[in-house]
């Protein structure tokens, strides 16, 4: 593990470990001087260690990147209840349990957490805060806002700084940029979870919710554990949700590929069109927030075709009857209906439905005109046409990309959206339009026959 790290990163990690060890020793000596060694202290540290391990197993990966664990809440609760010394022991142990297969990282993380907790505890005490376990807080709301904020700020600041410094040294990138990113996703999580920590600490104060071990002074804070259950439950559900979401998209993807099996053209088409769509959308500054919907619409915009029995029609090639065309015109509607039933991402069905509209109003199924058509649908339409012209389709021979762009420019504003065509032309000029696209020799007339 550590062999892959640069010398600086390794030295930094050793330094953190050394500081962490010193801090832990100092905190422990402080605690023992004030209270002596008590079984109840040791038990409390173990208790929180178990909660921390439970809270941080397999963090949830968010769809748009970033990790979530509920460990913050436990860290914070433990700090407010037991003070920095016991919490630091609990956290350090929990890291060693969690990362037992990677001892280097386990010890480095443990040391870092010790330093962070000492800093947070120091800030808390400096602002006048007191710990439930080691001091006798009188009845009434025991935590004041000022010290809590100080502790939270110190926790986030030191935590993100130490973690970013390591990443910066490891990847040889400037510290400030990494810190900003880390700070950006740590802060909201902490702000959301710290109140749970405070609530857990409050629950600890309720004597009715403690279990006493007879014959000792050991207290089991059962209420705190009960409070953690819904949190963990929520975490597992959320994890299931994010996994299921991915599985869902993968399944749809697999179906698009399955269509490739019965009709070579379709699946390949979907793949290709998806990539092109993204490029064109970025070029015209299409909002990122709708990109998922657009990508899926491009992926699935022809799914209606496998429902209306296109196979015999497509095989016919050129000689389509009026009835065949009427059938073909139905497919965006049917596709939209299918997608609406699936309720994957909102807005996909509407894009699919309009993907055969034209700015001059001669499209189908609704005959919308330029300003009525969603630009997303126009992107799908233009990309579909471009792909049709540049690749092999039974009723039209492949054309070179240059010819396709010229043809689309001629029809900009009538058949195609002018902005979209311009974006495609710009991409093509820069040589960035698609990468396995038509216009290459193997798609030429010669290989077609």
């Amino acid at each position: 593990m550590s062999q892959h790290l640069s010398r600086h990163a390794r030295l930094y990690a050793y330094a953190v470990v050394a500081v962490g060890a010193l801090v832990l020793a100092a905190l422990s000596i402080n605690l023992v001087r004030a209270h002596g060694v008590k079984a109840s202290h040791i038990f409390l540290a173990i208790f929180f260690c178990v909660l921390m391990v439970l809270a941080s197993t397999s963090p949830v990966r968010l769809p748009r990147g970033g990790l979530v664990t509920v460990a913050f809440a436990v860290d914070f609760a433990a700090l407010l209840i037991a003070g920095p010394a016991l919490t630091a022991w609990a956290a350090a142990l929990s890291w060693i349990v969690l990362l037992r297969k990677h001892p280097f990282y386990a010890i480095a993380n443990a040391a870092q957490t010790v330093v962070v907790l000492a800093a947070a505890g120091g800030a808390y005490e400096w602002a006048g805060g007191r710990y439930v376990f080691t001091s006798d807080v009188a009845a009434g709301v025991p935590f004041r806002v000022g010290p809590l904020l100080a502790a939270g700020a110190a926790y986030i600041f030191v935590n993100s700084l130490l973690a970013s410094a390591f990443v910066a040294l490891k990847q040889r990138r400037p510290l400030l940029g990494i810190w900003q990113v880390n700070f950006g996703w740590l802060t909201p999580q902490f702000v959301a979870l710290a109140p749970f920590g405070v609530l857990m600490a409050l629950v600890y104060r309720v004597e009715e919710l403690r279990l006493l071990v007879p014959g000792t002074d050991v207290i089991i804070p059962a209420g705190v554990a009960l409070f953690l259950v819904p949190l963990l439950w929520a975490r597992f559900s959320f994890q299931g949700y994010t996994q299921m979401r991915q599985v869902h998209l993968d399944t749809i993807d697999a179906l698009a590929r399955a269509l490739e099996g019965h009709d070579q053209y379709h699946g390949h088409h979907a793949d290709e069109v998806g990539r092109l769509t993204e490029e064109v959308a970025r070029e015209i500054g299409f909002p990122e927030s709708r990109m998922d919907a657009l990508r899926l619409a491009a992926r699935m915009h022809d799914i209606g075709k496998c429902f209306i029995g296109m196979e015999p029609i497509l095989k016919k090639g050129r000689d389509l009857t009026e009835e065949d065309w009427a059938n073909i015109r139905k497919h965006p509607e049917i596709g939209a209906k299918i997608i609406r039933q699936m309720k994957v991402i909102p807005g996909v069905a509407e894009i699919v439905r309009s993907s055969h509209e034209r700015p001059d109003g001669k499209g189908y199924p609704d005959g919308l005109t330029a300003e009525q058509i969603d630009v997303a649908a126009m992107i799908v339409a233009a990309v579909d046409a471009y792909h049709a012209m540049t690749s092999d389709r039974s009723y039209r021979k492949a054309m070179l990309a240059a010819g396709a762009i010229a043809e689309m420019r001629r029809n900009a504003g009538t058949q195609f959206d002018a902005r979209v065509v311009e974006a495609m032309a710009a991409l093509w000029t820069r040589g960035e339009l698609g990468d396995e696209m038509g216009g290459r020799p193997e798609h030429d007339d010669a290989s077609d026959t």
Binding site: V141, V206, E207, E208, V229, D250, T251, Q341, K343
Partner: protein, 425 residues
């Protein structure tokens, strides 16, 4: 059902009439507080795997039961149930509301009886002293709850009771434990509230309980909705796959539903039953790789027949990239295996995945009854007879028997006819 409703409502009236309401936590303000909390949490219906749901209101009822006894708790539970059914504006038949009130009352009465019998008195709890009684009461409530609900569902959906009971108990146990925990938390905090600055005690308790409950509810809902959406997607994709195979409309959906029930009757655990359900939807997805004219033909050449028989493998290949569906891909791959080893891959009896054995028999059953591929539709009785004659050879005996039991339970078959057929064979 009527018995449960009768007993439950009778019990409710009796306990409400007799009381006792007194005690430390039996005042009107306490009752109003718990009514408020009950109504609020009861609207958080937390869905579980397998389609059933438990409302978070249970935590409130449990807390109030140990604080103030069954009369107070049952009255709050009844009003909360009614308010939920009214406020959520779902079309809930009256008998269902009554049934819900009745089974909650019954389980609270049972829980209260156990709590008292073990020497605990209704009133503020001290966890150190009452933990055993609390656990026993929660267990009693759980047992009564699962039993009454399972009986009702077994009658309504005509499913075997025992399998349903284990499935429900397994599904409900984790959530019920979590909610019981919140209930204990609420009961403990409620006794503590007087130590909080004047007047704010109840607000504090409410917030402390609402936040974790809401989080639990929200995340579970998100997950359950995603699963529902996923099942619907598979359903839709299945019908897309059926489009070019005439006479198959609805086949996949019927097979999926019957396969799910059969897997429950065979005591499959929830994740496996779910995979079997999905496999039911997707079992013929490999047919998208076979030209439509071959699917439509009845007389096939050897070459075409070989292509036709490759559809299980094709289907498995299509699903292969989706890691989550690996078990489904396996079921689909082997869903034409014969129990005696004469199938395409030559697997025998238990080496064939259970889901594949289930899908194989049920797919055949559905095909016979609905007359797929141009055959004349058969009666369900004749179709079961057909499967039974091939038990141990083509079809798995256990599966066919389970299927027959479900059909009898659903009223599709008459048990008497079934016995006759058995004798005839």
């Amino acid at each position: 059902m009527t018995i449960v409703i009768g007993a439950g409502l009778g019990g409710l009236l009796l306990t409400c009439w007799r009381g006792p309401y007194g005690g430390e936590v039996g005042g009107l303000t306490d009752w109003l507080f718990f009514l408020f909390m009950g109504c609020l949490l009861d609207m958080m219906v937390v869905p579980m795997a397998g389609g059933a749901a438990i409302s978070a209101g249970f935590a409130v009822f449990f807390a109030y039961l140990v604080l103030a006894g069954p009369a107070a708790a049952a009255s709050v539970a009844a009003l909360a149930t009614i308010s939920t059914d009214l406020l959520t504006r779902r079309q809930v038949p009256v008998y269902r509301t009554l049934f819900n009130i009745a089974h909650i009352t019954l389980s609270l009465l049972a829980g209260g009886a156990v709590y008292r019998a073990l020497g605990a008195d209704y009133g503020p709890i001290v966890l150190s002293a009452h933990i055993g009684q609390l656990a026993a009461a929660a267990t009693a409530i759980f047992a009564v709850e699962v039993t009454t609900v399972s009986i009702a569902v077994a009658l309504e959906r005509r499913l075997p009771l025992r399998a349903l009971w284990t499935a429900n108990a397994r599904a409900a146990l984790p959530l019920d434990s979590a909610l019981t925990g919140i209930g204990v938390l609420l009961a403990g905090l409620y006794g503590f509230r007087h130590q909080i600055a004047s007047g704010l005690g109840s607000v504090f308790v409410a917030v402390m309980i609402l936040i974790p409950s809401a989080l639990l509810y929200y995340a579970s809902r998100l997950y359950a909705d995603m699963r529902r959406v996923y099942a619907r997607t598979l359903r839709t994709l299945a019908s897309v796959g059926e489009a070019k195979d005439p006479g198959s409309e609805g086949h996949a959906i019927r097979v999926a539903e019957l396969a799910f029930d059969t897997s429950q009757a065979l005591n499959c655990r929830q994740p496996e039953a779910e995979m079997i359900h999905y496999a039911g939807y997707l079992h013929d997805i490999g047919k998208v790789g076979i030209p439509g004219d071959i699917l439509r033909k009845h007389e096939l050449t050897d070459e075409e027949r070989r292509l036709m028989r490759s559809h299980p493998e094709l289907g498995a290949k299509i699903l292969h990239p989706v890691e989550f569906l690996r078990p489904v891909a396996d079921i689909i791959k082997y869903h034409h295996e014969h129990a005696d080893g004469t199938g395409p891959f030559g697997l025998v009896d238990d080496s064939i995945p259970r889901g594949a054995r289930i899908i194989h028999a049920i797919e055949r059953f559905d095909g016979l009854v609905y007359g797929r591929h141009g055959r004349r539709p058969m009666s369900p009785l004749a179709a079961i007879d057909y499967l039974r004659q091939r038990m141990g050879g083509k079809y798995d005996a256990e599966v066919v028997e389970a299927l027959a039991r479900i059909l009898v339970a659903r009223g599709v078959l008459d048990a008497a006819d079934l016995v006759e057929v058995l004798h005839a064979v």
